[in-house]
Each structure stands twice: as C-alpha cells, then as structure tokens.
C-alpha cells in the first residue's frame, strides 16, 4: 500500500473510532488525515501533468576539469510544485529544489544553471533531465521525464606545459625544428617559405623575398615534415586506465608544445600516417578531439611506424613500461621515451621533463641507444 493510502486508511480508522465512541476530538484528525492521504496523490499527479523540464548544454566540447554550463528550465503547471527533485544525468546527483507550492503565483518558468566539471576525457551522452515531484510530507512521488533531446559532450584531454628537469634538454628541444643538415638532399620540392634558421645552406635562402623586403626567409622543402619531431602514442596497457589517460594527456601536451615551436607530427594508435600540426594549430582541434576518443587497454592497436623512415626526433609516449624495440632501431638525433610516473623506466636514464603525470626519459643518440639496447638485453 502506498504511503498516501496508508494515511487515508489511518484517517478512516480514526473517523470510525470517532463515530463509534462519540469522540468529537477524533473527528478533526480523522478528517485531516483522510483528506491529506486522499487528495495528495491527486494534487501531485495533476501538478506533474503540467510540469516539464528541459536542458540546454552550452557547448559540445570541454577540456577535462574545465567548467561546462547547462541551463535547465522547469516549467511548472498552474497547480504549483511541491517537492521537486531534479534528476539530471549531467549533474549525476539528485538535486532537491525548494518547493513552489503556491498555485497560480510567481513565475511559471524556473531556470537554473548547472556548472559541471569532468575529470576524464571521452564522449558522454546525457539523457534529458527528469523531475521527481513529491508532496512536502513525502507521501507521493511522481517522476516526469524531460522533454528535451539527449545531448552529447566531448571531454577533451587536458594539456599542460612541459616542465623541463634538465635545462640542456629544453634547449635541445628549442632547436628541434627540422634541421637543415639532416634534411634529405634529394628533397627539391618547395613547400613554402619560413623564417631563416642559422645553419641553413645559402642555396635555400630566398633572395627574392629578401629583395622584396620580407626579411631573411628560407625555402621549406616537402621532406621537412619527415624531419620534424614526431610524437607517437602507444596506449597498449594492461594496468589501470589512469595510465592511458596520463599518456594521452602527455601526448596532447607535447604535441601542442612542439607544434607551437615549429610544427610536429602526431601518430595515433592504429593509424598509418601521422597528423601534421603546424605552428598555426589549424589541425589541432580535430586532433584534440581524436585524442579524446582513444581507447586504451591490452587489445589496443600498436603504433605502426618505422623509425628508420624518420629523420626528426621521436617522442614515444607509452602507457606501459618496456623499451619499445622500434625506438631503438631509428637513427634520430633525439629519442625520448615518455612514461606515466608510476611506471619504472627499464634503464637508468635521467629524467628530461615532466608533463601531465608522465616523465620523459632522453634516450639520446643512436649510439647511446645501442648501449641501452645492449644493457636491456
């Protein structure tokens, strides 16, 4: 039996006792209990019929831990609202609002803003908010589903600045822009112009641009991309998912930092071709969204890249320990293995930088890597 029914029955029993024993005192509580128990469900049912709730999410993307706003509109019927519980999947919790009991009074539209923060990346789908209406005495509860459509929100991985532990490593990264000396001599196709960097052969200086007063510029060749830094993301992990998240954040942070300096490539798991992000960050929003949706785990695809085809420096961001064999095969000037803080590095290399809960271990030149390979073996 419902609570309201029980109260109505109690009222009826008290009324019967009042009639049988001529107990005038019992008439008032008997009638009042019967009325409360009998009319309360009717009131709440009618109030629920005229009440609607809708939600508008102000954005469809948000970075982890950044606030996102949603506006919730509750339109109440002419019979007012008693106890109102907002059951919003975005809020995740039951938000109990104070009642608007007085019928036909006050505004009929109640608006509230919800500010939510999400601590983990990914795509989230939110069903429309529902309202649970109840009477102030807690006898009746009616759930009214919302009228708006379900909404999607993409939570992007957070990016942080790289904290250099060894100054020389930072300086080295500053000079990570594709270096003229390692560019392929066979590269002849001009891809555009860029500011002159010391060490560029005079044959690549654009004298016509200098003559026009554009300053000292050099011709960029098509193969420059191959010689630029590459961030490789490996999300194979049998450990906790927090490690995957940390690796994704580190890859995003590194990519953004390197791209701002002179552009860089990012190779995502399961992809054959890296995404190029230039200094203007035109490709960054799309890449950031793809990073948000990466699923890690033991069955995640490995990064399919051949380090021998790259001349530029490689930042191998992995969610799990172990020295990737591919990293030891390359001939890059710099190779850096980036691992979550809680994962031990297989060799005793110094930490170069820290970013987003990960540490970068400079593996060094190809000769140095050979020594590591021997030690690891």
């Amino acid at each position: 039996m419902s609570r309201a029914g029980g109260i109505a029955l109690l009222g009826a029993i008290v009324l019967v006792a009042a009639y049988v024993f001529d107990a005038s005192v019992l008439f008032v509580p008997g009638i009042a209990l019967a009325v409360v128990g009998g009319l309360m469900p009717l009131w709440i049912w009618l109030a629920a019929r005229g009440t609607t709730a809708s939600r508008v999410l102000h954005d469809d993307r948000v970075v982890e831990d950044q606030p996102i706003e949603a506006t919730i509109q509750i339109r109440r019927g002419p019979l007012g609202l008693a106890g109102v519980e907002l059951l919003d999947p975005l809020a995740r919790d039951v938000v109990t609002l104070r009642p608007w009991v007085v019928p036909l009074a006050g505004g009929r539209l109640i608006e509230a803003r919800i500010v939510a923060r999400f601590s983990r990346r990914g795509r989230h789908r939110f069903e429309p908010p529902a309202l649970a209406l109840s009477d102030p005495l807690g006898l009746v509860r009616v759930v009214r589903p919302g009228i708006s459509l379900s909404e999607e929100l993409l939570v992007l991985p957070r990016t942080e600045r790289v904290r250099w532990v060894r100054r020389d490593a930072g300086e080295r990264l500053d000079s990570l822009a594709p270096h003229a000396s390692i560019e392929s001599l066979a590269s002849t196709e001009v891809d555009g112009l860029r500011p002159y960097r010391p060490g560029t052969p005079a044959s690549r200086i654009s004298w016509t641009a200098l003559a026009r007063g554009a300053g000292l510029l050099e011709r960029r060749l098509r193969t420059d991309r191959e010689s630029g830094p590459l961030v490789v993301l490996d999300v194979r992990c049998s450990g906790p998912t927090e490690r995957v998240d940390a690796a994704v954040r580190a890859a995003a942070s590194l990519t953004l930092e390197l791209a701002r300096r002179a552009g860089c490539d990012l190779l995502l798991p399961g992809e054959r071709r890296p995404v190029h992000i230039d200094g203007e960050l035109g490709a960054w929003p799309g890449t950031h969204a793809r990073l948000a949706l990466i699923e890690g785990g033991p069955d995640a695809p490995p990064p399919s890249f051949d380090p021998r085809s790259r001349l530029g420096d490689i930042f191998y961001v992995a969610a799990e320990g172990g020295l990737p064999p591919a990293l030891l095969r390359g001939d890059q000037r710099v190779a850096v293995l980036v691992l979550p803080e809680e994962v031990a590095f297989p060799a005793r290399n110094a930490i170069s930088f820290e970013v987003s809960g990960c540490r970068g271990y400079l593996i060094g030149s190809s000769a140095g890597r050979s020594r590591i390979r021997e030690r690891a073996a």
């Binding site: 109690l10 005192v25 008439f27 509580p29 009042a32 975005l90 500010v115 102030p136 005495l137």
Partner: protein, 261 residues
C-alpha cells in the same frame, strides 16, 4: 569512460542578483530520531493533561512520572539495545515494574512478587470503575490505582514500540505507536466532552502530524509541509461539526454495566 561531475546550481544568466533555486537539505537520521522523541513526549504530555481531567484531584506527580519513564524508555531503549538486546529486554521489564510502582502499587508487593494480591486489587478496581463518577473524586484506592494504571499501560506500550522499532520506522509502526497515545487522549475526551472539542482535535492532529512526518520533511520543505497541514486542519475543523452526530453509534457505556451487576 566514467567521470565525476561537480555541480553548482546558479541563478539564470542576467539575473545574478536573484537567489538561485535553493537546494533543499535532507535531515540526518539522528535528527529524525530526536524529532520523533519530542513528538512522542508532546503527545504523551497532552494525553496526560487530558487524563487528569478524569480526576477531581488529579495524581499529577504519578502521571508525569509515568510520562517521564515512558520517554526514558523510548530514548534509552535503542541505546541499550545497541549494546545488548538481552539487556534492553531486561530494561523494558524493569520499566514496567517501575511503572507499576509509580502507578501506586506498593513497592514491597512488587519486590515480594505478591502477584495474586495485586491481581485481586486490580480486579476490584476494574469492577468498581463503571459505578465511579467522572471526574473521579478518588475515594476508592483500587479505582484510583486502575485509573492510573490505564495511562501507564498506554504510555509504556507506546514507548516500548517506539524504542524497539527505531531503525526503519515504517508507517505501520508509527501508526502502532500512535494508537495507544491517541487512546490516551481519546478516552478522557469521550468520558468528558471538552469545551472546544474541535480545537482539541486540531491540537491532536498537529501532534500526530509531527510524529508521523516531522522527521521525514526535508529542511527546505518545512514551511510548505506546515502550511499544508494547517490547511488540512482548518478544513477538517470546518467539516467536523457537520459530520459529528453528537452521540455514539451504539451505547458502549451500557455494555459494561449489566456485566458488572
């Protein structure tokens, strides 16, 4: 991918000066128990006051002592029961014995377990009750004892029900606790119709409502709950005279008299 969301409820944009829709708070369990106990004590006190009208010289000290004992049992019962159920049962039995002593049974009789003497005395009191005028002048010892034993049983019964049903006080249990207390109020008002019967009814409804819903109403909903109960009480007060026939459906007072002759 799971994620935790922190939520803040703000006023609508452009209306920052307005207060946001307030979030109601839910009362804690301990607070609820306290409210129930206060409502119980208030109902008992009102019942004792009504019961006193049955005497020309009411035994106020005995009746208030019984109320205090009942409140002590209702409050202390769960505390003792948390340590030991056996100890709690012993405390309940002890409360009944103390209640008998407060009602007027000599302590020596209880101590020496003179059950037969006590039983015959109570029987004599019950037999004399129909012939006893109301309000009672308190002439007969056994009649007075029985008239005090009545509220003692009702109060201790309600207290024991409240004490040992503290966890998960469902509506049925609340009603079970209420019935003896309502009887404590209803019996004297049936014998002696109060001057303002419907006003007394409103007071009784207020106390019953406090006991039934006092701990369930959320902090932000108290004013609306109060308004709703007030509305129901006023409505009932208006309707009650129209429904009250002014005489019982059958003569229940006549039932006992022939039997006692």
């Amino acid at each position: 991918m799971s994620s935790g969301a922190q939520v803040a409820l703000l006023p609508p944009r452009g209306a920052e000066r307005k207060r946001p829709p307030a979030i109601a708070r839910v009362g804690d369990a301990e607070g609820g128990m306290r409210i129930r106990l206060v409502a119980f004590a208030a109902l008992g006190f009102y019942g004792v006051l009504r019961w006193e009208t049955l005497f020309t010289r009411p035994p106020a000290a005995r009746l208030l002592g019984l109320l205090a004992l009942a409140v002590l049992l209702a409050w202390g019962g769960p505390v003792v029961a948390r340590r030991s159920r056996l100890l709690a049962a012993g405390a309940a039995v002890l409360a009944v014995l103390v209640g008998l002593a407060i009602a007027g049974i000599p302590v020596a009789w209880i101590f020496h377990a003179r059950i037969a003497v006590i039983a015959s005395g109570i029987e004599a009191g019950i037999s004399a009750l129909p012939r006893n005028p109301v309000p009672s002048p308190g002439g007969g010892r056994w009649v007075s004892l029985v008239m005090v034993l009545g509220p003692a049983i009702l109060l201790l019964d309600a207290a024991a029900l409240l004490a040992f049903a503290q966890t998960g006080m469902g509506q049925l249990r609340r009603a079970a606790v209420l019935l003896p207390l309502v009887a404590l109020i209803a019996v004297p008002t049936t014998m002696l119709r109060p001057k303002f019967a419907y006003l007394d009814g409103v007071i009784l409804f207020a106390l019953v409502a406090a006991f039934l819903w006092g701990d369930r109403v959320q902090v932000g909903h108290r004013a609306s709950a109060l308004g709703l109960c007030a509305l129901a009480a006023v409505g009932a007060m208006v309707i009650a005279p129209a429904l009250d026939p002014g005489k019982p459906l059958f003569d229940y007072r006549g039932i006992g008299v022939p039997c006692s002759r």
